[in-house]
């Protein structure tokens, strides 16, 4: 009889362990062609941004973690900054989302974020502070940098990588197809995005560890 009790208890312990494990996978990201998930976030200058209020403008979301080698690749080569400027020139709202959870690699305070922008000569419309990874989760982001384009009517039209060669080597950038640049061009020309879902590559996005 006691045997049974022991077995049952260990089963319960096992069940508890399973429940505590961060086995939860991300809910799959939003579907292309559907309204992009709405969010409201505060940027590094204290300004509040709401996606709903950006209707009528094309929006780019870039998840970032400044210590990730793949993010560094595109900032060292000035690829990211150049594309941010190109976007701004065409009235595209480029939002860089610092989505690493508090205490994780890539987490930044407002002033750190501003220092990084200055130091890297970056030109996003804003750096959103997302220490609970809420934006990343809403968009099913798995890596940094994970890129999204939302068209003027709020529809998600691109999700994936920044370009076509998944490597950490700067020398690959000129050879790669810059998916976001090409996609933005198509959106602004009123055309459908030809490569609308590509493989994102980079470091794992640093979600909060005790997430449920």
């Amino acid at each position: 009889m006691s045997n049974i009790v022991v077995a049952r208890r260990s089963l319960m312990l096992g069940g508890a362990a399973v429940a505590l494990m961060p086995s939860l996978a991300l809910a799959a990201g939003p579907d292309l062609g559907k309204p992009a998930p709405l969010f409201t976030a505060v940027d590094s200058n204290g300004k509040t941004w709401s996606l709903a209020e950006l209707k009528g403008k094309v929006v780019v979301i870039e998840t970032t973690n400044h210590d990730c080698p793949y993010v560094r690749k595109h900032y060292t080569a000035k690829n990211m900054q150049t594309q941010q400027r190109e976007a701004a020139a065409k009235a595209v709202v480029w939002l860089t989302s610092a989505s690493s959870a508090t205490g994780e690699e890539g987490y930044v305070t407002a002033s750190q974020a501003n220092d990084l922008t200055k130091k890297r000569d970056a030109a996003p419309a804003a750096v959103l502070l997302d220490p609970q990874s809420k934006i990343a989760r809403a968009y099913g982001a798995t890596v940094t940098p994970h890129m999204y384009i939302i068209d003027a009517s709020g529809i998600l039209v691109y999700k994936g990588g920044i370009d076509s060669i998944p490597s950490s080597s700067v020398s690959d950038i000129p050879k790669a197809k810059q998916y976001v640049r090409v996609g933005l061009g198509e959106v602004l020309a009123g055309k459908p995005v030809s490569d609308s879902a590509t493989r994102p590559y980079g470091c794992s996005l640093k979600y909060p560890r005790t997430s449920t």
């Binding site: 494990m21 799959a28 990730c68 080698p69 998944p166 950490s168 493989r199 794992s204 909060p208």
Partner: protein, 704 residues
């Protein structure tokens, strides 16, 4: 000083590995190894990039999952030397805070086959490689290294040191094996694919942790957990569609990993699977049901079902039965209205009752097995055979070979062919039985809905299909206006009836074809032989009548002929192994090619004679046994070595728990298979080999 320089020079020059073979990066120690100490022109050999990874960190598989990058090797090789792509070891799944990664922990060896040209010259072959890899824990670090491996060229290839060979041996064991089972996949309405690996005869309770690693990013999402179902029919894994926009590929490739519980522990096995897209398979997975947005409502499903039932009337499988019905109807045309109505109602009742029975069976099977596919009865060769007989006999009747009398009531046909209300009822039942295989492709949505719903809905939808099937006749029988449109009875009725025999025969032919799919060519002999016997029996019964002794003899003979025809069915049931092997199922039976059947007598005799003896205890459902055979026991090298050493090879089939083998297992303190025993020449005790074999292990036992 000069001497010292000279010594250093000599040391460098003489070292087997010129240049750097080891790179110590921060998180990975990487080493380039070869499984040969000297290479021979034209003879391929293997090199391995061995990564020793910092504890808790990981490097990546060819499909890294939701983040990360696979290790890359760029070769710089002398002219004519080629390097194949990396052969990847079986990956593991890492869940990094919800982001799924596929890769390796602790240590891994990436194998690459190098082929030198036949005209390779010089004293040594220099292989240069630049490798880069991403190594992650929570954070990710890209690392790289340059490697150079120089191997002397000799007239014969010499193997590397025992230590290095052991590393390669282990590495090869970690590479997934080509799947011994065919696989296919279907796409649900939601777009989510479901993979079916047709591994028949497995024991579900011995298999756990089934996971399908998709070979590339795109078609299939990297899931934290897959809820695979293992049944005796195979493995079914509901997957989730990936992010790639492109249509699902013709073939879905990946690595199937599972853990088999054997008597002595758990063994992880991996198989490379290439599943063909099966357009006729539209899964209705619970996954899709939970998330699907394009679900049918019950009302919609009922309407579709009704419509589907109507359309069924035009299907080739049902047509002959309906032809029979039409012929009977034409005959009734001249009779009273009440008669007509009763007939139509009886037919409808037959259809509906049959559908209700079918629904009950579906619900019951689903309750016990959890899964059922439509048309399940056609998976039984016996059923196919009986239906073929039925078509044949009905065809003979339509051809006028015999007339149906009250005393002439053989199974099924008699009932269906019997005039009046009972006959109509059974015609309805017959229509349903033959209709089901036709329904699957045409009514996938409604039936899929029915099968995935709670019992009351399942029954409702199936009954709606039945009502649709019966509706035209029901309407005809109760509407005098429609009846007036029917042509008058006349000689044309007989001609029509005779003509209708031909679709009936065609259906019999089709059923025999179905049968051959289940049993192989043998099925044809039994089916056609059985038909001759039945025709013979009918002929016997037709000549003469009355109660004379000769009539009784003929009746007896006819009964024997019919019994023989039905005995063929038993014969089919007897040989399920042939059935599966003919249709390509790999795990259907134990293969004795090149082996003697194990018996204790034969064993004792060979051991007493001082011969080396190898015993393989295996079972058709044992995956580990199968893998060992492919990898270690049935390779050309091992076969040759067995032959050279004059080993007596005995194989014991424990699929059905053979008592003699069970007793021997017990003596050795074993609970099950795989079990491998080796008696060295003259030894009186066997050596028990490990459950996971490698070729090298067998060879070393033989050479000891």
């Amino acid at each position: 000083m000069k001497r010292l320089l000279l010594l250093l020079l000599v040391l460098f020059a003489a070292g087997p590995a010129f240049g750097q073979t080891v790179v110590e990066a921060e998180n990975v120690r990487a080493e380039l190894l070869a499984d040969v100490a000297a290479v021979k022109a034209g003879e391929p050999f293997w090199v391995g990039l061995r990564q020793t990874i910092r504890p808790k960190w990981h490097t990546y598989w060819k499909n890294p999952g939701e983040s990360g990058l696979p290790t890359e090797i760029k070769w710089t090789l002398p002219a004519g030397v080629t390097a194949d792509p990396i052969v990847w070891p079986t990956p593991n799944l890492f869940n990094i805070g919800g982001v799924i990664n596929y890769g390796y922990r602790d240590e891994t060896v990436l194998l690459v086959r190098i082929t030198p040209p036949a005209d390779l010259s010089g004293s040594s072959l220099k292989l240069a490689a630049e490798a880069n890899w991403l190594v992650c824990e929570d954070v990710c670090i890209p690392e790289d290294g340059k490697f150079e491996l120089s191997l002397p060229i000799a007239v014969a290839a010499t193997p590397a040191s025992a230590g290095t060979r052991a590393i390669f041996d282990k590495a090869r064991r970690n590479v997934p094996m080509e799947s011994p089972w065919p696989a296919r996949y279907g796409v649900a309405k939601s777009g989510d694919p479901t993979l079916i690996v047709e591994a028949r005869g497995l024991k579900p309770d011995t298999i756990r942790d089934v996971y399908f690693f998709p070979a590339e990013w795109g078609p299939v999402a990297s899931l934290a957990k897959q809820s695979a179902q293992v049944t005796a029919d195979g493995i079914r894994i509901p997957l989730k569609k990936g992010d790639a926009k492109a249509a699902l590929p013709e073939r879905l490739a990946g690595t199937l990993v599972l853990t088999e519980k054997t008597a002595d522990g758990e063994i992880r096995q991996a198989f490379d699977v290439s599943a063909k897209l099966d357009p006729s398979f539209v899964p209705t997975s619970s996954l899709a049901a939970a998330e699907g947005s394009e679900q049918l409502s019950l009302v919609e499903a009922l309407l579709f079902a009704l419509l589907g039932g109507l359309i069924l009337n035009l299907m080739p499988c049902v047509f002959p039965v309906l032809a029979m019905k039409a012929a009977a109807f034409a005959r009734l045309a001249g009779q009273g209205r009440g008669e007509m109505r009763r007939d139509g109602l009886a037919y409808t009742a037959g259809v509906l009752v049959s559908f209700a029975v079918m629904a009950a069976i579906v619900v019951a099977i689903r309750a016990s097995v959890g899964e059922v596919s439509w048309g399940f009865q056609f998976q039984s060769p016996v059923f196919s055979l009986l239906i073929a007989y039925l078509f044949f006999v009905v065809g003979l009747n339509l051809s006028g070979v015999y007339e149906i009398g009250g005393r002439f009531a053989s199974v099924g046909q008699g009932l269906a062919g019997r005039g009046g209300t009972v006959g109509s009822f059974f015609t309805g039942a017959l229509a349903v039985i033959v209709a089901t295989p036709c329904t699957a492709p045409f009514m996938a949505a409604a039936l899929g809905f029915a099968l995935s719903q709670p019992a009351p809905q399942t029954v409702a939808v199936l009954l709606a299909v039945g009502l649709g099937l019966a509706l035209p006749y029901l309407l005809l029988s109760i509407t005098p206006a429609l009846q007036r449109l029917m042509p008058r009875p006349g000689p044309w009725m007989d001609r029509l009836r005779q003509f209708l025999a031909f679709p009936m025969y065609a259906s019999a032919v089709w059923m025999i074809w179905v049968l051959t799919q289940q049993t192989g060519a043998d099925g044809v002999i039994y089916a056609l032989g059985g038909m001759i016997l039945i025709a013979f029996a009918i002929w016997l019964l037709r000549i003469g009548s009355g109660a004379s002794p000769a009539t009784w003899l003929r009746r007896g003979l006819a009964a024997v002929a019919v019994l023989l025809a039905f005995a063929a069915a038993l014969k089919l049931e007897d040989g399920p192994a042939t059935a599966a092997s003919a249709s390509g199922g790999a795990a259907a039976g134990v293969n004795f090619d090149g082996w003697e059947r194990f018996s204790r007598d034969r064993l004792n005799q060979a051991v007493a004679a001082g011969r080396p003896v190898f015993v393989d205890f295996t079972a058709a459902w044992c995956i580990t046994c199968l893998v060992n055979e492919r990898i270690a026991l049935e390779t050309p090298t091992t076969r040759h070595a067995f032959g050279q050493a004059g080993v007596v090879k005995l194989k014991g089939d424990w699929t059905n728990r053979d008592a003699e083998i069970t007793s021997l297992l017990k003596e050795l303190g074993r609970a099950g298979v795989p079990l491998y025993l080796f008696w060295a020449p003259g030894a009186d005790r066997p050596k028990i080999l490990p459950q996971v074999l490698t070729e090298a292990m067998i060879l070393s036992e033989l050479s000891r």
